[in-house]
């Protein structure tokens, strides 16, 4: 694996973002709006409810973590879609670039873009609404790690889906975070869910993060083995997503799908 090949994919995204407000703004604008919206909701809930806990870390912390997860996933898929939209596959894959280097470049781009969003969210949540990282302690790092790994896994799987089903299938991947959010208990404990949803939640790494986050804030016991299980699941999904992408890529090379992505209008 050559690092300069992976760096080239990152450089391309940098070039695209540097010259485009439409690409730069979404890196922080929507997460900023989310933090503002949920920050004021938590303030209002704190004012009108008789709850014995502070809504800020519970709700705003959950929004921050969830937005970080969606940004990580979209960091991968959006970079991939840039190549779909500009019909670059033939030019890209008829080079010494390997599929591992390409996916590595997408992940690197996602790290860069999601970090920008995370920093904006942390600064806003702390400075405007008084969210304190001390509420979470050092466990915030593995929380972010699990969400990061799972976001990358879903991003790679989503990219593979678009490669397999064609450019129009991008609409399948945008709603993925919204579709899994009810199962992972972003805003409520998993005990709220019916049993059949529990089974699905058990298989989704973010469930362990949000359960753990609430347990820590409410001063309840939280088993580190649960978090380890979440990390293990996220790593497993990364491996499966990588395997899926390579399978789809090989299928695309075998059937001519990859060449047709660019040459569909060629005689």
């Amino acid at each position: 694996m050559r690092l300069n090949h992976t760096a080239a994919i990152l450089l391309r995204q940098y070039y695209l973002m540097r010259g485009s407000v439409a690409r730069l703004l979404p890196l922080f604008a929507w997460v900023a709006v989310d933090i503002l919206l949920w920050g004021f909701i938590t303030r209002y809930l704190n004012a009108v409810s008789a709850a014995s806990f502070n809504f800020v870390p519970i709700l705003l912390g959950a929004v921050l973590l969830w937005d970080f997860f969606t940004r990580v996933m979209q960091g991968v898929t959006t970079s991939f879609l840039e190549d779909v939209w500009s019909r670059s596959f033939l030019n890209l894959f008829a080079t010494p670039l390997t599929i591992t280097e390409y996916v590595g470049g997408l992940v690197l781009t996602s790290i860069a873009t999601s970090l920008i969003g995370l920093v904006v969210m942390l600064v806003m949540a702390t400075s405007i609404f008084g969210l304190s990282y001390f509420n979470f302690g050092l466990v915030l790092i593995p929380f972010l790690l699990v969400l990061f790994l799972f976001g990358i896994a879903l991003g790679i799987a989503g990219a593979a889906l678009v490669l397999r089903l064609g450019p129009a299938s991008e609409w399948f991947i945008w709603p993925i975070p919204a579709m899994i959010s009810p199962f992972v208990g972003v805003f409520y404990p998993l005990s709220t869910l019916p049993q059949w949803m529990h089974y699905i939640a058990f298989l989704l790494p973010p469930s362990y993060v949000f359960e753990g986050m609430r347990a820590i804030i409410l001063g309840q016991s939280f088993s580190s083995s649960q978090l380890l299980w979440g990390v293990g699941l996220a790593v497993l999904y990364i491996v499966l997503a990588g395997w899926f992408f390579i399978r789809v890529y090989r299928y695309a090379v075998r059937t001519g799908l990859l060449a047709r992505y660019s040459a569909e209008s060629a005689s």
Partner: protein, 253 residues
């Protein structure tokens, strides 16, 4: 530089029941320009895609600079580059950004110097910071050629490089390619529907029809050898013959 830069052996591609490329074999030497001719759907682009490793052959092998594309894809493609009218460079990057991006992927040494030199060589200075997508067809063709020469390839694949260009620009592009091919002792595989162009630039041609190579030889003498006045007449005759007749005709190799 002895030996072949490209060796294609018994190459075949089937899509279900349809045979797109059927048992095609040919070589290209260093410093040789070979024309791959044939009507639409003859299998030219399919053959080029298999050489470039973006389409897996059903059978046969492709070797570039003695490296097997199937098992040593990245190393083989490091010696190769291509340009095709249907594969435009990312239009949302500028000329310089495109060359830097692909230069990194092709591990080009002294990238900044190389990019500047190619921009000058292909007369792209006024467009250095212009997005490729807004350039004219001729300007885009020059950028694609500059990209194709970034890594000083040993094998250059050109799929209709002058398609949709006016005669003046097409002539410039042809001259640029020929001058580069001579200077760098590159092997070139060139597809075109312009028989004048083929006769002018190609040392050898391969006629492909229904996925098979029907004829091969010198484009200047081939028409007379088969009772035709020009290469274009020969092309039309071959393109109009149904597959069943081709198998029995004098064109069959």
């Amino acid at each position: 530089m002895p030996g072949n830069v490209l060796s294609v052996s018994r190459l075949a591609k089937r899509f279900g029941d349809k045979v797109a490329v059927d048992n095609v074999s040919f070589d290209i030497r260093h410093n040789e320009i070979v024309g791959l001719l044939g009507p639409n759907g003859a299998g030219k682009t399919t053959t080029i895609n298999m050489i470039l490793g973006v389409l897996e052959p059903s059978a046969g092998t492709v070797r570039i600079a003695d490296l097997d594309v199937a098992s040593q894809r990245a190393r083989a493609l490091a010696y190769t580059n291509f340009t095709a009218s249907y594969a435009p460079l990312p239009g949302n990057l500028t000329v310089e950004q495109n060359l830097r991006f692909f230069g990194l992927i092709y591990d080009v040494r002294n990238l900044s110097t190389t990019v500047t030199s190619l921009i000058k060589q292909f007369d792209l200075q006024p467009f250095r910071h212009v997005k490729v997508g807004v350039l004219s067809s001729g300007e885009q063709a020059r950028v694609s050629l500059a990209k194709a020469m970034l890594n000083r390839p040993r094998l250059l694949l050109l799929d209709e490089p002058t398609a949709s260009l006016d005669p003046n620009v097409a002539s410039d592009i042809r001259n640029m390619i020929c001058s580069f091919a001579k200077q760098e002792a590159v092997g070139v595989l060139w597809t075109s529907h312009n028989m004048y162009e083929v006769e002018k630039v190609c040392d050898r041609v391969l006629f492909l029809s229904h996925g098979k190579i029907l004829l091969r030889g010198d484009p200047k003498s081939l028409p007379r050898e088969h009772g035709e006045q020009t290469l274009e007449d020969l092309f039309i005759t071959l393109a109009r013959e149904p597959l069943s007749q081709l198998a029995e005709s004098s064109y069959a190799p």
